[in-house]
Structure formats: structure tokens, C-alpha cells
């Protein structure tokens, strides 16, 4: 478990166990506490349970045992809309709707605040449209607002996904293998933009990634997951310094 000197934790997991099938454990007694405003990177080999851990932390999967709390509130006590105002989630393949424009995809971040009747007819308030355009601008792709996601490059899609999550106004953003498909220079540029946006909006970021260089650039703290367990010997920034590449 990470310490935080008594400051409030953005996200906390206590003795979390998870299995998709009976007693076939993907996560085992995972306990962690993510400090508010910090950026945490979760690293680990493929198939080690990183995606499952992030989905449990995001409240998409319910832990088989143990509990997860966001800003002190247990996730199982929150409604989907309450949870969406606290946590934004970006899956590995980004979860964008290819047939819709970048702006439409970003506006989906506001769905939790829009009534069904207005949303069904695509009647978003002017204020939300302005915010969506500002989020695209912050990501450097305001000029692509009307372009279909289907016709966008991988890097542009990553920025659309981040802009959508920013419009959600969450306190925490959880992203799975973000920027892992991009070349190093582009991934580095996008992560720098995310850091600036996160600092401006006071957002806590939790990302899984497998590139040490990017983790060093982005993460304030690094957690290592192996065989569904947090590896205590490798928690902390020392993972970046020495044994990480050899071990992971």
C-alpha cells in the first residue's frame, strides 16, 4: 500500500480479490492508495491482470472480495451517474464510436449531465459544445472536430478519447495501456499534454503502460503487478531506476 502522509487519497483499494470464473483468481489481495493529484503508472507483463485491476478500480467490475473507494466513498454505494462524475475510464482500444465525428465523441463525456430527450435529438447545450471544442483545442486537434473518428490517425484518436474524458469533469482518470500503440515521440507529446491538462483540472491519473521511458516521464509513482499481485519490492520510483526492465 502506498503511503500519503495522512493526505486524502483519490482512490483506495483494500484487500481486493477478483475472479471471472470460480476461484480462478486474476487479482489477489491487492491493496493500494493513490494520492490525489498524483499520476500513477501500473506496469507489469501481459496477462498479469492490469486491465482487470483498472476495470475494478473504475467500478466497471465488482471485486469478488475486498473494497474500492473513490474520494472516501465505496464504489458499490455509488450510482453509475455519481461514479461517472468522479471517475473517467479510457479502455485500451479507446472506446470511440467510429462513425461519429470527433466532436460528437467528445460530447459523450457530457451525457451524464444531459437529459435523455435532449441527447436523443443531439441537442447539447451551447455551453457543453463550447467546452467540448475547448477540450479538443487543449489536445491540439480543434481543427479536426468535424472529422469522423474512422478517418483519424491513432494519435488523433488518443487525443479525442482524452478530450471526451476531460469533458466528463472527473476527479480521477483511469486509462488502460494508453499511448502504447504510438511511436515514442508522439506518445511522449500526448502524455505531456495530458499532464498539463491534468494539472490544470486537478485530475488524478492512473495508467497502465509497458514502456519504462514513458512511465518515467508520466508517473509520479509506479506500481508493479505480477500474477495478479502487487509486487511490494518494486513499488516506487526505484522501479524506473534499476531492476524494472530485467524483472518485468
Amino acid at each position: 500500500m502506498t503511503g500519503n502522509g495522512g493526505a486524502p487519497h483519490a482512490l483506495r483499494a483494500d484487500q481486493v480479490w477478483f475472479s471471472y470464473r470460480n476461484r480462478d483468481w486474476v487479482l489477489r489481495h491487492v491493496s493500494l492508495a493513490i494520492p490525489a493529484g498524483k499520476h500513477t503508472v501500473i506496469m507489469g507483463p501481459s496477462g498479469t491482470g492490469k486491465t482487470t485491476l483498472l476495470r475494478v478500480l473504475a467500478g466497471i467490475l465488482k471485486p469478488s472480495a475486498g473494497s474500492v473507494s473513490v474520494l472516501g466513498q465505496p464504489t458499490h454505494e455509488l450510482t453509475a451517474r455519481q461514479l461517472s462524475s468522479l471517475v473517467g475510464y479510457i479502455p485500451q482500444q479507446l472506446g470511440l464510436v467510429r462513425n461519429l465525428s470527433a466532436l460528437d465523441n467528445v460530447l459523450m463525456g457530457a451525457l451524464g449531465r444531459i437529459g435523455d430527450a435532449k441527447a436523443v435529438f443531439g441537442l447539447f447545450p451551447r455551453q457543453e459544445i463550447d467546452k467540448a471544442q475547448a477540450a479538443l483545442d487543449m489536445m491540439g486537434i480543434a481543427h479536426k472536430a468535424s472529422q469522423q473518428v474512422f478517418h483519424m490517425s491513432g494519435g488523433e484518436r488518443q487525443r479525442v478519447a482524452i478530450a471526451r474524458t476531460l469533458l466528463q469533469h472527473p476527479r480521477i482518470v483511469i486509462a488502460d495501456e494508453f499511448a502504447s500503440d504510438l511511436d515514442l515521440a508522439l506518445a511522449s507529446e500526448i502524455l505531456a499534454r495530458i499532464r498539463r491538462a491534468a494539472e490544470r483540472e486537478s485530475i488524478t491519473f492512473i495508467m497502465s503502460m509497458h514502456r519504462i521511458g514513458l512511465a518515467r516521464q508520466f508517473g509520479d509513482e509506479v506500481l508493479a503487478l505480477r500474477h495478479g499481485e502487487l509486487a511490494p519490492g518494486f513499488i516506487g520510483n526505484e522501479i524506473l531506476e534499476s531492476r524494472a526492465e530485467a524483472t518485468l
Binding site: L83, G95, G109, M152, Q168
Partner: protein
Amino acid sequence: MRSTLALPLTTGVFLLAVLAHLGFFDMERLTRGFRNLGIIGAELVPPDFAILPAVGAALWETVEMSFAGTLLGFLASLPLSICSTRRLFSSWTSGFARFIAAGIRTIPVLLWAIIFVILLGLGPLAGTFGIAAYTVGYLAKIYADLFEGTDPEIMEAVQSTGASKLQLVRFVILPEAANAVLAQVLFMLEYNIRASSVLGFVGAGGLGFVIQIYLQSLDYRRLATVLLLVLVIVLAMDAISAWARKRFLLSAQAS
């Protein structure tokens, strides 16, 4: 070796038995059939185009019935297929919706036309409802399966923004399935053009009534003209479908 030959041998013997039962080896009957085919083929040509003005109205009625029936059926199939989607609704709700769609689908289009002729009387209105009913059953099943195949990652990502079920349908399910939805409705329209050309057999309007008269009076030259007209309409529909696919569906060469 024995086991590898057993299945093809058994299948072959079964197939031969079935063909014999169906009369495929009744050579006298088959020869007579081929002879009749030659006679009818000769009587079909040349087509009698003098009837074109007379059958024009029936042809237009067939096209109207197909368009209106397909559109009505398409609109009705959307809510039914959405309710059939297990990812959005409980197994009870989706199971009930699927049961209704299966029930509608069980009845062939000609029988639907008869039912609506009984309910609404003779004419194209009955035919239009018959086509709409069949379209609902078919499209509801296809669309429900399509909607269920929506990428779960996209559903999760948008659900995590706090989107409601209705918003998921509007912003994820329908846009993601848009290509296939359009392709299926175009296919259905083409199918309904052909199907509606025989609904007149049971008094449900369109070309079918004219076809029936020419068949009963053995007037094959005029029948050939009507069949050519149906072919022209189907080819025109093919061209319209191809244009719509090119105009509205995503190309496969995006990055």
C-alpha cells in the same frame, strides 16, 4: 480408414434415398418436364409489350407497397430489436421481445397478406401491412444480433460517462451498426419488391393479380412482359442500393 469413409458413405446413401423418395429417378416424368419447359419457353417469346400501359398502374402499386411496407417494418423493427438486446435489457425483456419477433417471422409474407386482406379488405393496403409485418420479424432478428455484437469496450467507455440506456442506443449502438442497418434495409427493400409482385395472388394488390390472370389464361407472352418488368425494377433497386452503399457506408481504406 473405415471411420473416414463411414460418414461420406452414409451421407451419400441417405441423399440417394431422399432423392428417390422425391421422384428424382422418375425418368419418364423428368423427360416430360423438360419437354414442357421447351414448349412454355417457346410460348414466352416474343413478349407482348402492348400491355405496358395497362400493367403500369399495377407495377407502380407494387413499388409503392414495397417502399411503404419496408419503411413501416424498418421503423417498427428498431424498438423491438433494441428491446431484444440482452446487453441492455434483462433476459426476461429481451427474451419476450425475441419471442414476439420469432412469432412474426414464423408466418410467411403471403400468409400475412391473407390475414390483412381478411382484416382490411382487398387491395394494396393489405399488401403493404403484410410486407411491413414480415419485414419487422426479419429485421428485428437481424438487428438484435447486430446490436448484441457492439464492441463491449465502446459500450463500457460510454457507459462510464454516465450515459443512460437510451443514450447508449443513440450514441453507440445505432452509429456503430449504421452500415449493417442500412445494408440490411436495402436488401429487405429489394426482397420486398420481388415478394410484393406475387401478393396480388391473394388479392393484396400489385402485379400479382395481373400475373395470376395471365397464368390462368395461359397467356405466356404477356406473362413474360410482366416478369421482364419485375426484372427491370429489381435491377433498378440494385443500382439504387449500390449508390446508397457507396454514398453512405464507410469505405474500408481508412487509417
